[in-house]
């Protein structure tokens, strides 16, 4: 008997759907779409199936986001984003204040010690936000959001950020978030 490979829906679109739908509805909606996608691929070809899948995901996104806002789910994500970005931005303002008081002024480069303080604070904030997660998927989402919070803070900061600091901060935030989740789970 000849077997045909089963097509998969576009991975990026599926991930986008799951990210926007959240834990509550994500798998359910993705499962329904997948069934329909397989049926269309079999009946009308892979190309038609993929186009249909893409259009369904794109058309669903606004409604899914609206549902998440209403459920308070998105609010938590925004709170995590703010709880990571806000301390870093406040520290940036504090370092600006410190540097603007140097009697003969100085540039935007920050001492390594001050960047280390930033790193410690972002790790603590990310770990606390990671501890809010109750499932592994949620922990992964919050870790990504904490990395986004770091990216937002770095973008909005006045002080210069060397490459090692940017890379370290973008890695430390999700790692601390996952560590916070694991620590909470083991207690």
């Amino acid at each position: 008997m000849k077997t045909y490979p089963v097509p998969d829906p576009p991975a990026i679109l599926r991930a986008l759907l799951l990210a926007c739908a959240g834990d509550g509805h994500g798998e359910l909606i993705a499962g329904d779409l997948h069934e329909e996608f397989l049926y269309l691929c079999e009946e009308r070809g892979d190309g038609v199936g993929r186009r249909w899948y893409a259009s369904q995901v794109v058309r669903s996104l606004p409604e899914l986001l609206r549902l998440r806002i209403r459920s308070g789910d998105l609010t938590q994500l925004l709170a995590v984003l703010a709880s990571v970005a806000a301390p870093l931005l406040l520290l940036d303002r504090l370092w600006c204040f410190v540097y603007s008081h140097i009697p003969l002024k100085d540039g935007l480069d920050r001492a390594a010690g001050l960047l280390a303080v930033n790193m410690a604070v972002l790790c603590i904030a990310s770990a606390i936000s990671g501890a809010l997660a109750r499932t592994a998927r949620r922990a992964a989402t919050l870790s990504l959001v904490s990395a986004m919070g770091v990216a937002v803070a770095l973008w909005a900061s006045v002080g210069a950020a060397p490459a090692w600091y940017i890379a370290g901060a973008l890695l430390a935030a999700p790692a601390s978030s996952l560590a916070g989740y694991k620590k909470w789970r083991t207690q």
Binding site: C96, V98, Y99, H101, P103, L104, K105, D106, L108
Partner: protein, 183 residues
């Protein structure tokens, strides 16, 4: 509730511990004082121009936008102001008023610096002839901040000010030894 307490305690510790550390560091003997020195292949007379003349000063003190000449003339009691660009304050320009407290060319220059509601300080330049056409320049600076927050942050400000001064002196050495002309 237990987690809320823990998070509250962690946040409090993050604020209180560094504040206490800064308070204690602010009590050290060298608080608010910066000293830096450099040896330059130039005579004291040649080097004097670089600390006395505003157009020369502007070349090696970074972030200086303008340095006005002494008024009415270079002597004790004369005044001159420096306009600095503050990149940490949205590029705002800050005028630092200077009053000459000691004028003994080519050995010592003392300038009292002040920015109302910001800080007051005394900056002294000492030039020592080392022979063989070499001169040691020592810059001493002591300052006092008006705002309580700036006073608390002094242990962070002073090392950065020293680093900045070291950078400026390295630039001065490079400029003088390459016999740079006025721009």
């Amino acid at each position: 509730m237990k987690w809320v307490k823990r998070i509250g305690m962690a946040v409090a510790a993050l604020v209180i511990l560094p504040a206490l550390t800064l308070l204690l560091l602010g009590l050290r003997s060298g608080a608010g004082r910066v000293q830096s020195s450099v040896e330059v292949q130039a005579s004291p007379d040649q080097l004097w121009t670089w600390i006395d003349d505003g157009d020369h000063v502007k070349q090696w003190v970074s972030w200086t936008v303008e340095m006005k000449p002494w008024s009415p003339r270079a002597a004790v009691g004369a005044t001159r102001s420096a306009v600095m660009r503050d990149a940490n304050n949205g590029g705002a320009q800050m005028v630092i008023d200077g009053t000459c407290t000691e004028y003994a060319p080519p050995r010592t220059l003392g300038v009292k610096l002040s920015v109302p509601n910001e800080f007051e300080g005394l900056q002294t330049y000492h030039l020592t002839d080392l022979g063989d056409g070499r001169t040691r320049l020592v810059i001493e600076m002591s300052y006092h901040f008006d705002s309580a927050l700036a006073r608390l942050m002094e242990p962070l400000i002073t090392p950065s000010a020293r680093k900045k001064m070291d950078g400026d002196l390295a630039r001065l050495k490079s400029l003088v030894e390459s016999k740079a002309e006025l721009r």
